[in-house]
């Protein structure tokens, strides 16, 4: 087994709709875990997911998922589940049938498909609504039903396009817990979302995309380090904020040290976090300042997103 057989690999992938750019020259390789695709409206997130699952074909480049391509549908879709953003269902279908019949196409017998259907409905919290027609579901219920269908056959790769849209806070928390559990089991979970705080909390890595180009990719903190134009912000809660601020200002790489309004903390902006932490250790060990808490203030997805893409992200 080669490393590529465990990865999702995009190699120089471009997609044009006539003369309109979908995505351009996208290359990355993703390991198992939770990966978030982040970008504004029309940036190409759904295009990337549709390319990955073969719903659309790349104009150039190649895509392999665990060593497979969508041209091998039987092996491919056994291992891939996709919860799309298309909010449409076969007319007249019930929630149960929506999960059951695709499982029959996988080759499962009636009893086996029924067992997997019940299991998927339970995991998505939809068991009690399964016999009702999907047309009568709320948006959140339809979202959970699509999620149930995507996980029903126990795929190794789960692709989720805005999976938290339309979910109430409780269902959102349950879904996030499910994604984390699946990732712990060794699955690839690829999520696109505009709810950056939640993405930040659960992602092992991010792919930032803007106007069809991948602008950054990797673990969130690694990506943050690469954004050298923007000094890193570090929040230090301490007993003697003016003393810490003046010590910090003596360092070349510190560009700003702002004492907080309550006088019990300093917001440092530095180009070299490691150097600053060494200074902080020295100050603490010298007994000059008592430090209550230290936390990076902007190595989250939201900040990186603003630095790289230049907006707050907005609904995508």
């Amino acid at each position: 087994m080669t490393p590529g057989d465990r990865q999702i690999v995009f190699e120089n992938v471009s997609k044009f709709y006539g003369e309109v750019l979908g995505v351009n020259r996208v290359s990355f390789a993703l390991d198992p875990g939770i990966t978030s695709l982040v970008g504004p409206n029309g940036s190409g997130k759904t295009t990337l997911m549709n390319l990955l699952t073969g719903l659309i074909k790349p104009t150039q480049g190649s895509i392999r998922v665990l060593g497979l391509t969508p041209n091998q549908p039987i092996a491919f879709f056994r291992r891939v589940g996709y919860c799309t953003q298309f909010d449409s269902f076969p007319p007249g279908t019930t929630g149960y049938d929506f999960i059951f019949w695709p499982l029959r196409l996988h080759g499962f017998g009636k009893e086996q498909a029924a067992k997997l259907t019940s299991e998927a409905l339970e995991r998505a919290g939809m068991s009690q609504f399964a016999r009702r027609k999907v047309a009568g579901y709320s948006k959140g219920m339809r979202q959970r039903m699509r999620l149930a269908q995507a996980i029903a056959h126990h795929p190794s790769v789960l692709v989720l396009d805005e999976p938290l849209n339309g979910l109430d806070p409780m269902a959102r928390a349950e879904s996030i817990a499910l994604f984390q559990e699946l990732a712990r089991q060794g699955m690839h979970v690829l999520i696109s979302s505009h709810i950056l705080e939640e993405v930040d909390r659960i992602s092992d890595r991010v792919v930032l995309i803007s106007s069809g180009y991948v602008v950054a990719e990797g673990q969130i903190r690694e990506v943050r380090k690469e954004v050298r134009d923007h000094p890193l912000q570090i929040l230090v809660r301490c007993s003697n904020a003016p003393r810490l601020a003046s010590a910090a200002f003596e360092l070349d790489h510190v560009v700003e040290a702002k004492i907080l309004n309550d006088g019990r903390g300093v917001l440092i902006r530095t180009r070299d976090a490691e150097e600053f932490y060494l200074l902080l250790n020295k100050i603490v060990s010298g007994g000059l300042v008592e430090v209550d808490a230290v936390a990076p203030a902007d190595d989250d997805v939201n900040s990186i997103y603003q630095y790289l893409i230049g907006s707050t992200g907005g609904p995508s």
Partner: protein, 291 residues
């Protein structure tokens, strides 16, 4: 058995016996499509197309003149031949197949549900065959029922003379031929409209062109006539209609072909067009916004 074990066992089974998997998938696809399409409100106009001659014959039975004379049975046979050859084969089945078969894929694009069919472990060719068989089953069931009803209504009113014509005379053989023609018409038109729906975003215009082609094909050389569905069906019709009057435009003057060759020819035509559809399906992308 644990769920992962169950999943692994099915994966192993389908990898070892792909043809059994394909057969099982086709069976599931056909049942799903029949359930989805047969009783759909969108199909009401198709049912009407099939039912119009039945309703006319029924009203004729109820309110029309009654006679048991031999010449009247002969005339009824000619009227029935006209209904089947001119109405059902040239118009009813043609437009019904246009509605049923173009909707198999294009309809799912319009309803934005085709992606579900593309996200299951099913080869696209299997998807095409499954949907084609479902469409064929629906159209054959509908029109064979209509033909049987027409046949019954046409001869039942003659009482024992009608029974004698059907069971002791040429009636039963004619019925068999009409049922065969109907099934082959559904097969041939169905394959063509399925391919057109995969080739064009709006298959109505090419459908009308096809209608024109089927109408004017008799004036073309023999090899060109073989590219028409009605060419093969003509040779299987048991009663020859007179080629005169304004209705002559809908009759086909074809080069003579043996019935068995006509059946094989139509099967070959449907097969070739179905293979084309299997190739065309690979071009389809899920871009609902452009539909």
């Amino acid at each position: 058995m644990s769920t992962p074990g169950l999943v692994a066992r099915v994966q192993k089974w389908s990898a070892e016996q792909p043809w059994r998997l394909y057969a099982s998938q086709i069976s599931v696809l056909v049942r799903g499509e029949v359930r989805r399409s047969l009783f759909s409100r969108r199909r009401i106009w198709v049912y009407l197309l099939a039912a119009i001659p039945v309703l006319i014959l029924l009203s004729s039975d109820l309110f029309g003149p009654r006679s048991t004379e031999a010449w009247y049975i002969e005339r009824t046979t000619q009227v029935l031949a006209g209904i089947i050859q001119l109405y059902y084969v040239r118009l009813g089945i043609f437009f019904a197949c246009m509605g049923i078969f173009t909707w198999l894929f294009r309809g799912e694009m319009v309803e934005r549900t085709l992606h579900y069919q593309f996200m299951v472990p099913v080869r696209k060719e299997v998807l095409v065959i499954g949907k084609f068989l479902a469409g064929t089953l629906i159209s054959i069931a509908l029109f064979e029922a209509a033909i049987l009803s027409c046949f019954y209504l046409a001869y039942a009113r003659f009482g024992s003379a009608g029974s004698s014509y059907v069971f002791d005379g040429p009636g039963m053989s004619q019925l068999g031929s009409y049922l065969l023609v109907t099934a082959l018409a559904c097969l041939g038109y169905g394959a063509v409209f399925l391919a057109l729906s995969l080739l064009f975003k709006n298959p109505i215009v090419p459908g009308i062109v096809l209608m024109g082609w089927e109408t004017i094909v008799p004036i073309f050389p023999g090899w060109a006539q073989r590219l028409s569905v009605t060419f093969y069906l003509k040779h299987l019709c048991p009663v020859t209609l007179p080629v005169e009057g304004p209705m002559a435009i809908f009759t086909v003057v074809a080069e003579p072909v043996a019935p068995i060759l006509a059946v094989l020819g139509l099967f070959s035509l449907a097969f070739v067009v179905l293979v084309l559809s299997c190739l065309l399906i690979h071009r389809i992308e899920i871009t609902y916004t452009v539909e």
